[in-house]
């Protein structure tokens, strides 16, 4: 079903086209009284609700009040002017990731992960790899079609290269939290160089690094395939692996 549009300029819909109705709830740090309700209406007015109806107010604890406000907004939205930043790979569900690997790779996809250098902060790599995951998303271990080897913390680059070879890694995931004296950048460059030396170009595993202080645009400069910054979830990483190792290669091959 496609949404009924009355042209590229729209406003919210309550029960009549063009009524602009929205609902809103929020808490203000004041006890509930007449003045508090006035404050809530003032906020609603400043947010562009005109007229605003305060339909519910309830004090929470000592000094807070929760409000529900309905009202009509004056704002118009120009749909033709909406700009969307597209991710350069599709976000897949665990099921879709598994299906893509099973059907198109026809074997388990091997992922080797580690914290390299002296970095002992495994929070990042564990959040991405451990089943426990992060933010309600399961880690890569949860994906049936991925074979995950988590080497843990303080892994030397030669050991990582050796493990990647033994596990026939399709992808190597490296997490770097410590940034003292740009350690994360040095370590990443060292790791990338070692993999280039150890593997012929076509057989080299995909190199992915992650950490809260990386600039996602530096991948090429550091010699890796992809950088993930703060707030990355396992699903994004899994989707990227499918994109880079399966979908894109098929396109290249075809």
């Amino acid at each position: 079903m496609s949404a009924p549009t009355s042209g590229p300029i729209i406003r919210p819909y309550g029960d009549t086209t063009g009524d602009g109705m929205v609902q809103l709830s929020f808490t203000l740090p004041v006890p509930h009284d007449k003045r508090a309700e006035g404050a809530a209406l003032q906020l609603a007015a400043k947010m562009g609700l005109d007229p605003a109806m305060l339909v519910h107010a309830k004090q929470l604890g000592d000094g807070y009040t929760f409000f529900v406000v309905y009202g009509s907004v004056r704002h118009l939205v120009d749909v033709s002017a909406v700009q969307v930043v597209e991710r350069d790979f599709p976000l897949l569900s665990a099921k879709e990731v598994n299906a893509a690997v099973r059907r198109r790779l026809r074997r388990k996809l091997s992922v080797v992960g580690a914290c390299i250098g002296t970095d002992a902060h495994t929070v990042g790599i564990d959040a991405i790899l451990n089943v426990k995951g992060i933010a309600g998303e399961k880690g890569l271990e949860y994906y049936r079609e991925l074979r995950v080897t988590n080497l843990g913390a303080q892994v030397g680059v030669p050991d990582l290269v050796a493990a990647a070879r033994t596990e026939k890694a399709d992808a190597v995931l490296v997490s770097q939290v410590v940034t003292q004296r740009d350690a994360h950048l040095h370590n990443t460059r060292e790791m990338a160089a070692a993999f280039r030396e150890a593997f012929p170009a076509r057989r080299r595993p995909l190199l992915v690094v992650g950490g809260p202080r990386f600039d996602e645009l530096m991948a090429q400069e550091l010699g890796v395939d992809r950088i993930f910054g703060r707030g990355t979830t396992p699903r994004e990483v899994a989707s990227y692996l499918v994109h880079a190792l399966i979908t894109r290669r098929e396109v290249v091959a075809a």
Binding site: T27, G61, F66, T122, V123, D126, N130, V131, I134
Partner: protein, 546 residues
């Protein structure tokens, strides 16, 4: 209350099948207990030192218990236990106390040896005296809790209402916890910082920085317990405090919980193995010791079966929850915990799009209730099928609360409509508590009327889950629990016994291994003190729902 219709009668379970299930759980768990009895870990030994009074950390924040265990291990290995070498060195060096000894050992000025003959006897006596003093502190905390419960009273209703705070800063957590208690929470859980479970030491002091949670430290425990004591006085009911005895430092955290009068601890027999890739042997050894401490401290454990359902399908894998509950029960009893201390976990995680999902939830929840009639089951809210649609989420939470009321759950973790969206706002918590209050107020006594039709959908479903659980237990008994874990029987994780984190911190007992804490915890004193509690607490547990 339900009086005439006992919970055990509602599903018409075959008592022979229930007995078989328990017998199989015992058979599956037995070899693992043997393994736990013949091994020790760095964290068990550090817990012994904590009971013996070692406190504090070096300037880098590494606790003295770690430094001392590392120093002893470097000289004589871990397999003799730390007590004999440490107390022998204490006497030989003429050092005043163990913390000083740890400092000298860290500086490299002490050599450790395993004492023999009369020296061993002396070290053994000194260790036992010192650890005994620590256990008496735990006993005093327990008596203090019992006194405060008598003074302030337990919550007027079952289930107890369990709320989470998690700011990362203990000084922010405190006012939030007190506000939550005022708003109706009976149990406050302080979520730990992400990643603490994989730290092989317990951080020290009050902490103000954590990732999506607050570090479990002795000082944070003490600060929060003191704050909730204040709230208990103000509210006229004893507000319980919960934390997490899990991860690599489980035995130490259990010990600190006992020393600081925490009331409940999350403590699952297999969670660390499956979800944190901690070595299975490390986990089972640490588990047994921490459960013995919890038993002694009068702490209610909460097990983690809800986690299975977040990774596996809640209908297809319902029986794995039952199997895990039975194993958790066996391991808990073996370690000396009483039924009233078993907050066995389960969760409302069936896909709401599935036809009859609510009836399936009722069947599963009632099955747990009937299998473990004396345990204060921990009922966990939906998470997997919560979306950004907070309106639908609030409805799901209402149905979750209703199952909790209808099946007599003991501890209800309050579900938030913003589960998948944000860490709960003040208003989210209020909406959630309003939901709980409405359901318990409107239907709190419905357990009395709720008797599933004989041979009907709910009974059949419960029978089927129990039968599948027995099948799975049989398969586990055939190959052994460790093999089952290695083969990925639980969840989908394969966890071989020779892999996983923390394995390097495990040692087989050498001849003459000595652990004064285990000796005292398994001794007749603890049995007597635990036995004395069963009656009164079990009675409290049978308190009518409203």
């Amino acid at each position: 209350m339900s009086g005439s219709v006992t919970a055990a009668g509602k599903l018409d379970l075959d008592p022979a099948v229930v007995r078989t299930a328990r017998r199989l759980a015992r058979k599956a768990g037995g070899p693992v207990v043997e393994l736990a009895r013949s091994h020790t870990t760095v964290s068990v030994e550090r817990a012994v030192l904590r009971l013996a009074g070692v406190t504090g950390a070096d300037p880098d924040g590494i606790p003295w218990v770690n430094r001392l265990v590392d120093a002893v291990t470097a000289d004589v290995g871990l397999g003799h236990g730390v007590a004999l070498p440490a107390f022998h060195a204490l006497a030989a060096e003429g050092v005043g106390d163990l913390t000083l000894l740890a400092q000298k050992a860290a500086a490299g000025s002490v050599r450790f040896a395993v004492p023999r003959g009369r020296e061993a006897t002396a070290a053994r006596a000194a260790a036992r005296r010192s650890v005994g003093a620590g256990l008496r502190r735990v006993d005093r905390r327990r008596a203090e809790r019992e006194r405060l419960i008598r003074r302030h009273g337990d919550p007027p209703q079952r289930p107890w209402i369990y709320l989470i705070v998690a700011t990362g800063d203990i000084y922010e957590d405190i006012p939030q916890a007190q506000a939550a208690a005022r708003a109706g929470a009976d149990v406050i859980a302080v979520i730990r910082s992400t990643g603490q479970s994989l730290l092989d030491y317990v951080p020290e002091g009050a902490t103000r920085e954590g990732f999506a949670g607050t570090y479990a430290t002795q000082e944070n425990f003490r600060l929060m317990r003191a704050a909730l004591d204040e709230s208990s006085r103000e509210l006229g009911r004893y507000v319980r405090l919960t934390n997490y005895a899990s991860g690599l430092c489980m035995p130490e955290i259990a010990t600190l919980a006992g020393l600081e009068r925490l009331d409940m601890m999350l403590n699952d027999s297999m969670y660390g193995i499956l979800f944190r890739d901690i070595n299975p042997i490390r986990t089972f050894v640490d588990q047994r010791f921490s459960r013995q401490v919890h038993a002694r401290a009068g702490i209610i454990i909460n097990t983690g079966e809800d986690n299975y359902l977040t990774t596996a399908d809640a209908v297809d894998e319902a029986h794995t929850v039952t199997v895990s509950q039975l194993l958790n029960e066996y391991f808990a009893h073996e370690a000396g915990l009483s039924d009233w201390q078993l907050g066995l976990g389960h969760a409302f995680e069936i896909n709401p799009e599935l036809p009859e999902s609510f009836r399936l939830e009722l069947a599963h929840a009632l099955l747990a209730r009937e299998l473990f009639p004396q345990a204060p089951l921990k009922w966990m809210p939906p998470t997997k099928h919560m979306t950004g649609d907070v309106f639908r989420g609030n409805l799901l939470d209402g149905f979750f609360n209703l199952v909790g009321a209808m099946t007599g759950q003991g501890i209800l973790l309050v579900g938030m409509m913003t589960e998948a969206v944000v860490t709960p706002w003040l208003s989210d918590r209020d909406v959630a508590l309003q939901n709980v209050r409405y359901v318990l107020g409107a239907a709190g006594g419905l357990r009395e009327d709720f008797v599933p039709a004989p041979g009907g959908f709910i009974q059949q479903r419960a029978h089927r889950v129990l039968a599948e659980a027995v099948d799975l237990l049989e398969r586990i008994v055939d190959g052994g629990l460790l093999t089952a874990i290695a083969a990925g029987t639980f969840g989908i994780m394969r966890r071989p016994a020779d892999r996983g984190k923390g394995l390097e911190g495990v040692a087989r007992h050498e001849p003459g291994y000595y652990n004064p804490a285990t000796e005292l915890l398994e001794g007749p004193v603890s049995a007597r003190s635990a036995g004395g509690r069963v009656g009164s607490a079990a009675a409290a547990n049978e308190r009518p729902v409203r």
